[in-house]
């Protein structure tokens, strides 16, 4: 079912039912084979479930790309205290809009994935931390969880298997940093969402001080399909190191923006030209951010040789991140857009590490000065030097995320900056957040 656009290049695993409101209903979901994978998993036992996910090569879809099965295997094998499974549904990376769609179109797919994950890591409680702005997705999910309880797919003695797993939908309150795993845990505990120093890692000391595992929505949505069909089946798509399919969120200056599920390793140029119908208004491509605003920008030449998997993006000096492809045509004012991203990070910095708190605020001010036509060539050197000090010097990577767009933009689009500096004129209307 098309939502909103469809391409025959797509391979739909987790997005099969996008656009079909009936899929939210538990009866329809079960009729279509839903909760079959959960039953199968209960029959296999936790260790075998972890092994099948390991064999599929599934990697975390939240941005870091860490192998999911391996992450699960870090959890203690014996349950001496409560274990928790946390689902990260705090989607807020600029350019990313896949998790909201997964939740509102197919909530039971996520619930089933969560239950299988919880069973594999011997967790008795699942917290789905859903972004606060997602009122609709939250309501759909809450209703679906309620239905799962009513039909015996959650709570005590699930499907007569003797397994007890509770699910709670937790609503966030508007903070980008709560998408960072330890920030999310603090937020869940009723604290400010400030990331924690690691180690200890969540598998040892996580939410409420107990062993915890945290997975992205899309990762957990893939799990039921892998358990049903096997690890080899999932490996028929993608590459050796990046197997499977991935939702690509395409936004910006393309004719058909939207979510497209494609095999990993798909060529970026074909995604833009073929799947998304090419550039809007026939303009030329100027730049692409392939993984959400936290990754380096690439130019048209790099786009042409970029394959969209974890390794392919690294090969052109960027990262796949959460596969949020932001496309910019040649009418784009790069300086303004980078300034807007830096403003975002300055707003969202949790403030506990000095390089990030001070660095993001000063970077934003200098960027604005350049945009307003009051910058100097020396400002560019200051930016490069200052953002270099923001990489690897903080508890989490929000600080690094400021450096990535600024450094890559100055390296690749220096003439855009210089034009503004030399013209001494503002770049256009801009608003303060």
């Amino acid at each position: 079912m098309a939502y909103p656009f469809v391409s025959d290049r797509e391979v739909r695993v987790v997005s099969t039912h996008f656009g079909d409101p009936l899929q939210r209903r538990i009866d329809t979901y079960v009729e279509r084979g839903g909760y079959g994978a959960l039953k199968k998993a209960f029959g296999m036992g936790p260790t075998d479930v972890v092994d099948v996910v390991k064999s599929s090569g599934l990697r975390g879809r939240g941005g870091a790309g860490f192998p999911t099965g391996l992450k699960w295997s870090f959890m203690p094998k014996e349950q001496t205290k409560p274990h928790y499974l946390l689902c990260n549904a705090d989607e807020s990376e600029p350019g990313t809009f896949k998790d909201r769609e997964l939740i509102r179109w197919d909530p039971h797919q996520l619930i089933e994935g969560c239950l299988i994950g919880a069973f594999a890591i011997r967790a008795s409680h699942i917290y789905i931390y859903c972004r606060g702005e997602f009122f609709e997705a939250n309501q759909v999910l809450a209703r679906a969880v309620e239905d799962a309880y009513a039909k015996g797919y959650a709570g005590k003695n699930i499907m007569g298997s003797g397994n007890d797993i509770d699910i709670t939908v937790h609503q966030g309150a508007g903070a980008y940093i709560c998408g960072e795993e330890t920030g999310l845990m603090n937020s869940l505990e009723g604290k400010r969402g400030q990331p924690r120093v690691k180690p200890p890692f969540p598998a040892a000391v996580g939410a409420f001080g107990m062993p915890s595992t945290i997975n992205n929505v899309e990762t957990l949505c893939a799990v039921p399909h892998i358990v049903s069909n096997g690890g080899e089946w999932y490996r028929q798509w993608g590459s050796e190191k990046s197997p499977g399919t991935k939702l690509f969120c395409v936004s910006g200056h393309v004719r058909k923006p939207g979510n497209y599920e494609l095999p990993l390793g798909f060529p970026l140029s074909e995604l833009i030209e073929d799947v998304c119908g090419g550039m809007r208004d026939g303009n030329a491509l100027k730049a692409v951010i392939p993984g959400g605003s936290s990754v380096p920008i690439i130019n048209a030449e790099e786009v042409a040789r970029c394959n969209l998997d974890y390794e392919g993006c690294v090969a052109v000096g960027t990262m796949l991140g959460c596969a949020s492809v932001i496309v910019m045509d040649d009418t784009t004012n790069i300086v303004k857009q980078v300034r807007r991203m830096v403003d975002f990070y300055a707003h969202e910095s949790c403030g506990q590490c000095t390089p990030c708190r001070e660095g993001s605020a000063w970077t934003a001010q200098i960027m604005r000065r350049i945009e307003d036509g009051k910058g100097t060539a020396a400002d560019l050197d200051t930016l490069m030097e200052m953002t270099q000090e923001m990489v690897g010097t903080t508890i989490c990577v929000l600080s690094d995320s400021v450096a990535a767009p600024v450094q890559s933009a100055i390296e690749k689009f220096r003439p855009d900056f210089m034009a503004l500096i030399e013209a001494n004129e503002p770049a256009g209307v801009a608003y303060h957040g």
Partner: protein, 218 residues
């Protein structure tokens, strides 16, 4: 900018379809009206809405709201963990979280008032002061910005005759910029109270405003 030819059966409707009721927009009665007491405890913490009808002096946590608060408490191993949902509950009733509400929440959860103040001010969704009947949050982050979000902000401010972050004279509209609302493929995305409006262009802003004015409450 993009002419997306779809009917979105979510609450996030195309702007041309905002006269439809929420049920009609969804094309489905899946969620329907959720009860004030919060329904099943697993989702009780997700209930808070941003309502047009606000009662800044309204009683906190009484009757069905008390019931919902108690359900929330049952879902966490610590009382502190109920803080975020409880603050949201206070905001649903009163429209914003005042220092007085924070103190009340602190008392209920055995936390210090200063701690609750510190947490509430960390999160952007708690309005620390009263806002208009409709809180208009326009995403101006990169994907929407590329497609003209700045002009949409300007259109809202012009049409409601107010400034960024201030409430219009009739008390109806407060417009602010929002960070990415995760609807990047449907720019510009505008969140008005609990609902997303997607693919909003400046030309459609007057229609949205007039519709909300005519609608009054929620």
């Amino acid at each position: 900018m993009s002419d997306v030819p779809f009917k979105n059966p979510g609450w996030a409707g195309n702007t041309g379809e905002f006269d439809l009721t929420e049920d009609q927009v969804r094309g489905d009665d899946f969620v329907g009206e959720r009860p004030k007491h919060g329904g099943h405890a697993s989702g009780a913490g997700t209930m808070p809405y941003m309502l047009a009808g606000k009662n800044p002096e309204g009683p906190l946590f009484e009757g069905e709201y008390q019931e919902r608060f108690e359900k929330i408490l049952t879902r966490y191993p610590t009382k502190r963990a109920a803080l975020l949902p409880t603050l949201a509950l206070a905001q649903e009733i009163r429209g914003h979280v005042s220092p007085e509400s924070m103190d009340r929440v602190a008392e209920l959860l055995d936390l210090s008032p200063a701690y609750v103040r510190g947490v509430s001010t960390f999160y952007t969704m708690y309005n620390k002061r009263p806002v208009g009947r409709y809180l208009v949050q326009v995403c101006t982050n990169i994907s929407c910005n590329l497609c003209g979000a700045d002009e949409v902000v300007e259109a809202f401010l012009n049409y409601t005759d107010t400034e960024l972050g201030r409430t219009s004279e009739d008390g109806n509209f407060t417009t602010i910029e929002a960070e990415c609302l995760a609807a990047c493929g449907y720019p510009t995305c505008v969140q008005i109270n609990s609902r997303y409006y997607e693919n909003v262009t400046p030309a459609e802003v007057p229609k949205i405003i007039e519709h909300l004015k005519a609608k009054g409450g929620d």
